[in-house]
């Protein structure tokens, strides 16, 4: 019994210490001298304008220069382009360091744990950097520091933006969250608890979409011809081994294609704005549907795992209400024994903006593994922005149905609550 309780405590502790990073960073707010609410509903969830900003390589479409307040320091006058290739192509660096910080702390309440109430203060300290390096290049980096001298360079990538002058052609190189993830845990998730299909592992040591991958991603976005919605796509090749160096020659490949019907353009408006809108940016009337595919090979414990994932997602914005969900089918085949394990993972979520600073949300999630193991979870939550850059969020992970899952240490079946205080500056 004591061993069992210890195991639960360790699993819970490990889970709450897992990174839960954001993509909304005050460095951007400083650069444009604008509020977080320009790009976020409540941090870190991006609103449609914020997604267009991201799709433009962290630039405000269609004319970033008109709205930026903190000027770049030029590395060579623009006319040096005329001298190339006899001289270095001119670039730029930010006038103020593009660095931000984040601290979040959790109170974890787990009725079945030895410590029913645990103060995880702080859970994590992050150093975030993001910005542009003149025309056509941008970057993002995130360093996570957790208690116990744990330091992780969670993400660090460089983007070659708008290759050939179109938002349809961009290349990301580095370590990043792949766009095959149905809904980002960095800039979409409001709750401390992760999307269950994202954190789920079908086999022990196998792929989960929570891991950031090292590789190349070619992607693009283009607003529709009517100035609304539009198409987004991504194809990528990555190591597939998360934060570690690859342990096999085979690379993982993936793709994503989505189309947004109506609403704010995915790559922004064609009209230059005189100033940034900082309020009511969450409202949109749109439906986005997407499909994803991921195929790879893993090597763990001396065993080779050939696997694939395929899925679809829907994201509907109806005024103050956001309904979204995804379904994913996957199979892992251990080549040595030719044994396969299939699963279906799904979730549906509703988020409602009650006031500009308060969001109520509930999410229902399901994992059906080979129709033998069945997990159902519901996560209600309330998110309160006590300032534009400070939020308090409380969620309750309630397992309606559980069964042990070999590869998924977090799915112990403990229902628990968390209250998080989150500040970015």
């Amino acid at each position: 019994m004591r061993r069992w309780i210890t195991g639960i405590c360790l699993a819970t502790t490990a889970f709450v210490l897992l990174p839960a990073s954001a993509e909304g960073i005050p460095a951007f707010a400083r650069r444009y001298e604008t509020s977080c609410t320009t790009c976020h509903v409540i941090i870190p969830k991006l609103n449609p304008f914020g997604m267009a900003f991201r799709n433009n390589g962290y630039r405000i479409p269609p004319n970033d220069l008109k709205l930026v307040k903190s000027h770049d320091i030029p590395l060579g006058a623009p006319a040096w382009k005329k001298v190339w290739p006899e001289a270095v192509w001119p670039g730029a660096i930010p006038g103020v360091p593009p660095v931000s910080f984040r601290i979040f702390s959790d109170v974890v309440v787990n009725p079945t744990a030895a410590a029913k109430v645990n103060f995880v203060f702080p859970n994590e300290f992050e150093i975030l950097a993001g910005g542009t390096a003149g025309e056509g290049i941008s970057y993002f980096a995130e360093l996570e520091i957790t208690p116990g001298d744990n330091v992780d360079l969670a993400r660090a990538f460089v983007q070659f933006d708008q290759i050939g002058g179109t938002t349809l052609a961009n290349l990301t190189v580095g370590r990043f969250e792949v766009r095959a993830v149905p809904f980002s845990r960095f800039w979409r998730r409001l709750t401390p608890s992760d999307f269950l299909p994202t954190e789920f592992r079908n086999v022990s040591g196998g792929l989960d979409f929570k891991a950031r991958q090292a590789g190349f991603e070619f992607w693009g976005a283009k607003t529709g011809s009517n100035g609304k919605g539009g198409v987004e796509y991504a194809v990528g090749v990555v190591n597939g081994n998360g934060p570690f160096a690859d342990n096999n020659t085979a690379k993982d490949v993936y793709s994503r294609l989505s189309y947004k019907f109506g609403g704010f353009g995915v790559s922004g408006s064609n009209e230059e704005a005189g100033e940034l809108q900082q309020t009511n940016n969450w409202r949109d009337q749109s439906v986005k549907v997407g499909v994803i595919g991921y195929k790879g090979t893993g090597l763990f414990g001396g065993k080779t795992d050939d696997f694939w994932r395929a899925g679809a997602d829907v994201d509907a914005l109806i005024g103050d209400l956001n309904l979204f969900g995804a379904v994913m089918r996957g199979r892992d085949t251990m080549t040595a024994t030719s044994t396969s394990t299939e699963f279906t993972a799904a979730f549906v979520s509703a988020e409602y903006v009650i006031k500009p600073w308060i969001i109520g949300t509930v999410r229902y999630e399901s994992i059906d593994r080979d129709k033998a193991q069945d997990i159902k979870r519901v996560v209600p939550a309330i998110v309160i922005a006590i300032r534009a850059n400070v939020r308090v969020v409380g969620d309750w992970e309630s397992f309606l149905k559980t069964s042990s899952t070999a590869g998924t240490k977090t799915l112990s079946g403990d229902s628990r609550a968390r209250i998080r205080l989150d500040i970015l500056f």
Binding site: L75, G76, A77, A79
Partner: protein, 200 residues
Amino acid sequence: MRRPLQTALIMVACGAALLGNGPLADTATISGKVTCRGVRDCAGAVVYIAKIPGRTFSPTTRAIMDQVRLTFDPLVLPVVVGTQVAFPNNDEVRHNVFSPSPVKRFNLGTYPKGVTKHVVFDNPGVVELLCNVHAEMSAYIVVTETPYVAHVAAGGSYALRNAPAGTYDVCGWRPELKAHCTQVAVRDRDTVQLNIELRR
């Protein structure tokens, strides 16, 4: 203070050119607003009459591209074809002036404070100026075939006063944006409204 002085010099030059080459019947005004897409503002933009068939104009009588406080001054200097531009170094450090532009390719070398060098610009077009010592320095000489040039104000407005009657192209240009020309027909004492949009 430099821009009004420069405008005055251009007007003087225009007057001299008109006195020397044609009748004093230039009474029209072409004005409007310039919109600059993809850049912060219209700083450095100019509007000019590209060419008037059958008329030629004398070079600008006095044209100076100064070098002070690690910058070229002015950012944009319009001159008539054939103008000799002076490049004094009035800074505390040595500068180099060169142009990679096919309109006028030259390199004046590196020279110290107190030295002035000269270049004649004998073809129309935009000439980019750079300094090999200071990569952030740049300026532009807009070589036109007429002296009718207006600097665009901060808000984007411009006015080409004392323009001649006739049919000709009016062009707008700004650093980093493409020139855009529109043909207009102007009669004596006309006031023509022409808005210009410049893009990358």
